[in-house]
Symmetry: C2
Subunit: 208 residues, 2 copies
DNA sequence: ACAAAAAAAGGAACGTGTTCCAATTCCGCC
DNA sequence: GGCGGAATTGGAACACGTTCCTTTTTTTGT
């Protein structure tokens, strides 16, 4: 993994790919911008196109639907979180503490832009089959984040039990976020749910 | 042509309330019918109105939005399940077995009408603040179903731990259904997730 | 530097959820 | 039995996601 001059492979392709990447980025940024200002309803495709300085048809060339657009933004956000955590892993001593710490931090970020979170969670909740791939990607990233937090500094592969626990926590996380964004529970409830679940699933006395 | 004696109280009000109740029912039935045939997208408000033999504006008088319509149908469905289980409680010996049994049964029903389930779960996943009340009602019914299954024949009130476990299982259930209806996982995965979670949360060795 | 191909622009048009309104029908009550 | 108000009807109209088409611009290969 040299910091190669000639772009290894995935980037490649001269001007076209560059301008396309830039366009894609502008569209995603416009999406986040609009979502931050007015949530899901403010992310109107015509406005996204205008804000990204791109034609409406172009938005659709890059993202097949509004749902997809928001889901890709969500996937990117989660991937960023994962990357950050790879560099700054939780330092707590126990799995429970690490998981709770990581998820509290994530939720703190999500709460700073509640409308963005709401838009993403809502897209997640309506996802159709044609977006199964990104939904899977998002859930895998979230599960991975939790798995890493569970068996933090250790380099061994996750046990099957850990993977199952991580999946449950991911599901609790998503459900709880859904409860928050649709106004059933306050934002603190997300942390509480996760702490409770982590406690029940990861407490030392439950380790086999 | 009164058939009923003097209706006790909740029904009350003569012809008006009766015809309104009938209208509401027709709308809900039309919704389920259309959902069964073509899922969420087939539940088009104009079609619902036509199938229920009612004007479009009338549908909106009874249900503020398509989302609300489907959520009320979902609440009713869950309430029915709950009522059924009150009469036919699970007979298994352990909490885990009872919970698994109840949820498997519920999922079996849901799988018979996958498009209906998909429409409902999808509405649930997009719920907005104005529908927080039904979303809460649905989650409470689902949690209640699970709580009852956990401490089945016993008549004591649920312990705090049981309530927390039930909530987690409810969240896993919802997330897993979401994964199924958006094509990320097969329908069996719902049962597997719930069995795994119930096992981890309710196994005897975890009882305190 | 030019021709062919690909991408983007610009904008019209369609479908469906939702809103609104005028006209009509129905209900409860005097 | 008729009156006042509420409920219902029927349908027009609007908003926004999505599709489609034509024209223009950009990119690539020679």
């Amino acid at each position: 993994m040299v910091i190669a001059e000639p772009e290894p492979e995935p980037a490649a392709e001269g001007a076209l790919a560059r301008s396309q990447a830039a366009r894609r980025r502008r569209v995603l940024d416009a999406t986040l911008q609009l979502a931050a200002e007015g949530g899901f309803d403010a992310v109107q495709m015509r406005d996204v196109a205008a804000a990204a300085d791109v034609a409406l048809g172009t938005v659709y060339r890059y993202f097949a639907s509004k749902e997809r657009l928001l889901l890709e933004a969500m996937a990117e956000q989660q991937a960023d979180l994962r990357a950050y955590l790879d560099v700054h892993p939780p330092r707590e001593a126990t799995p429970v503490a690490r998981v709770v710490s990581v998820l509290r931090g994530a939720n703190r970020s999500l709460r700073e832009y509640p409308d963005v979170t709401a838009a993403m969670v809502r897209s997640f909740g309506t996802a159709q089959i044609e977006n199964a791939d990104i939904v899977r990607r998002v859930t895998e990233i979230m599960t991975g984040i939790i798995t890493s937090a569970i068996h933090a500094p250790e380099r061994r592969p996750a046990t099957e039990r850990e993977v199952r626990v991580a999946r449950i926590l991911m599901q609790v996380w998503l459900s709880s976020l859904n409860g928050w964004v649709c106004g059933v529970d306050g934002p603190d409830r997300v942390d509480e749910d996760l702490a409770a679940a982590a406690g029940l699933l990861l407490s030392p006395r439950n380790d086999c």
